[in-house]
């Protein structure tokens, strides 16, 4: 088997085991409420991190507005569910349509801002996506949508006025946000996460993924072998945006009340931190980094009180060194080549047991 196929299988099966194990434990009531409550957002952050890794790690373009695409997905799908709350059934169908529609709209915006920006080189994309994210947040923060017996009424910065008071339902309420039906649960997040992971792996390990990496490594050489640089930049960027939109759709259906101010640049930067510390281009790294960095402050550093942020910063610095510093890279190679690890590997190879290796990796 090819090395990349094998690596992907290990990552995928490891993630699948972990996802279903956690979902099973939470359904069985083994986990305490707080841990269970963390699982859904953690899964959503993992989806965001792996999708951002496509733009930053595989395409090599810095995007600082990933929360903007998530915001579009969250609002579009949330509004969809609210509008069709009583018209589309069963619930799973309405929810699936809502999330898909959110992903499509995020992709449309990906194309719209990608076309002008991805033709340029350098840091333009970083600046434009940063602005884009903030603009999306502000728009969402100011949009009002009310439904009555006559249909939908929009309002921007102020609620719509000509509504029928008797039958009105306020769907989007400006800065207060929206209360989409809470259709998301751990199992759905687990399944969507695995689908997104598979799509990204299959995309990266194909002709198109190779083209993206070629553009990343040297766009002049990529052009010289006939690779349409703009096309593949746009393709990867749009796919990344679509998946972020899907994550947003899951997110808006997981909260009792969602306000747009959540989608500010701090969130984009947080996801970028997961991606960078997990290792650019490594989906497995993004997953592991998200788990560690998301669970850590919530689960283990609570008791540390004022020291919490300090400890968090130390972990960040250590992870950065672990993934990037020459000393640690050499150390990791040494560990991988050391006798006990080699022995362990040969044991697993004999058993052909990919799963246990996935747990160890």
């Amino acid at each position: 088997m090819r090395k990349q196929t094998k690596n992907n299988l290990i990552t995928f099966s490891g993630t699948a085991v972990l996802c279903f194990l956690m979902a099973g434990l939470s359904t069985a009531g083994v986990l305490d409420n707080k841990t269970t409550g963390l699982l859904v957002p953690m899964g959503i952050y993992i989806i965001l991190a792996i999708s951002l890794n496509l733009t930053v790690g595989i395409l090599g373009e810095l995007s600082l507005g990933h929360a903007g695409f998530m915001c579009i997905g969250a609002y579009v799908s949330g509004a969809f569910s609210l509008i069709f709350q009583n018209t589309i059934s069963p619930v799973w169908l309405r929810f699936a349509l809502a999330v898909i529609f959110g992903g499509i709209m995020a992709a449309v915006f990906g194309v719209l801002i990608g076309i002008p920006v991805l033709r340029l080189r350098g840091d333009y994309l970083a600046i434009v996506t940063l602005g884009f994210g903030e603009i999306m947040k502000s728009i969402a923060n100011n949009v009002y949508l009310t439904m009555d017996k006559n249909g939908l009424h929009f309002g921007f910065t102020v609620p719509p006025t000509n509504v029928d008071e008797a039958t009105k339902q306020e769907l989007l309420k400006g800065p207060i946000g929206m209360a989409a039906p809470q259709d998301t649960n751990v199992w759905i997040v687990a399944v969507v996460l695995l689908i997104c992971l598979a799509v990204l792996m299959l995309f990266i390990d194909s002709r198109s993924g190779r083209a993206c990496m070629a553009v990343r490594d040297n766009y002049i050489a990529a052009q010289s072998v006939g690779i349409n640089v703009t096309k593949y930049r746009l393709m990867a960027f749009t796919l990344s945006a679509a998946i972020a939109g899907v994550a947003g759709g899951l997110y808006s259906h997981s909260l009792s009340l969602l306000a747009a101010k959540k989608f500010d640049y701090n969130l984009s930067i947080l996801i970028l931190v997961f991606v960078v510390l997990g290792g650019l281009g490594s989906l497995r790294g993004s997953i592991i980094a998200t788990i560690i960095l998301y669970a850590l402050p919530e689960l283990f550093l609570r008791g540390a009180g004022n020291l919490r942020m300090l400890l968090y910063a130390i972990v960040l610095v250590f992870m950065m060194l672990w993934t990037n510093a020459p000393f640690f890279i050499a150390l990791r190679e040494k560990i991988a080549a050391s006798k006990p690890v080699m022995k362990l590997k040969s044991v697993f190879r004999r058993d052909k047991s990919d799963k246990s290796a996935g747990g160890a990796a």
Partner: protein, 259 residues
């Protein structure tokens, strides 16, 4: 086209010129390369040789003149279109896909030869497997020609210098060009590596029936394999013709080769 294939040159440059601000980097260059010819472009540093390559491949737009490939005007087209039309190149300062494997570098060169869409790839439809298999074999064959079969899974950046040069040539050939442009392929090589490279270039010409235009400073390599030469100096043609005659030209000796 087929009946006059023998007298239509593969590449023809007509009064090709480019200016950067006030600098006439290339000024009225004329050149014809016959099919199957190994043609050399030489001249002192800064003479405009790489700029000629960049104009042929569409990286720079000429300010005047034209580029014809098999009699067809390709002036001003994009680098991608020009590669698809049949010109591939290497770079003076090696431009590999550094973080990708040796095999994937060549497979990236086979990009337009790999016939499945992004969606067929993600869904792993039968065409994906068929095409990947075919392209894999093709890439391996090419790498074998260049003696890189043992380095298939290495990361390109980790190859020794000489092999990086070879990989770049293999990647260019993967696009199935009619004309191959090599920009100082022997730069930075020791005499042994250079001799080996000479053999490889000859072999490529025979094996692939290739027309090659090459920029080089190593006079042993130039006189060893080039059939015709153009000498550039300050963006203008200093001499042109059969290698032996050009290298004896007193103008060339004073301006470039030295006593």
């Amino acid at each position: 086209m087929s009946e006059n294939a023998n007298n239509t040159p593969v590449l023809e440059l007509l009064e090709l010129s480019i200016q950067f601000g006030g600098l006439h980097a290339v000024d009225g260059l004329n050149l014809r390369i016959k099919k199957g010819c190994l043609y050399g472009l030489i001249g002192p540093n800064g003479a405009g040789k790489t700029t000629v390559f960049n104009m042929i491949t569409g990286v720079y737009k000429p300010t005047a003149g034209s580029v014809l490939l098999n009699g067809k005007n390709i002036t001003g087209k994009s680098p991608v279109e020009i590669n698809k039309a049949g010109i591939a190149r290497t770079f003076q300062n090696i431009r590999l896909f550094k973080a990708m494997s040796v095999l994937d570098n060549v497979k990236a060169g086979l990009h337009n030869e790999t016939k499945y869409t992004a969606i067929e790839g993600v869904l792993r439809l039968p065409r994906y497997f068929r095409e990947e298999k075919r392209v894999n074999e093709k890439a391996r064959e090419l790498l074998k020609v260049f003696g890189l079969e043992d380095n298939i899974n290495s990361i390109a950046a980790n190859l020794p210098y000489g092999k990086q040069r070879k990989l770049e040539i293999a990647r260019a050939l993967a696009t199935d060009p009619k004309l191959l442009l090599l920009d100082e392929p022997a730069a930075g090589m020791n005499p042994n590596e250079t001799a080996e490279l000479m053999e490889t270039i000859r072999f490529v010409r025979e094996q692939f029936n290739m027309t090659i235009l090459l920029i080089e400073h190593d006079m042993k390599l130039v006189s060893g394999i080039c059939e015709e030469l153009t000498v550039l100096n300050f963006g203008q043609e200093l001499a042109q013709g059969e290698t032996a005659a050009v290298l004896k030209d007193p103008k060339v000796i004073t301006a470039y080769l030295g006593e």
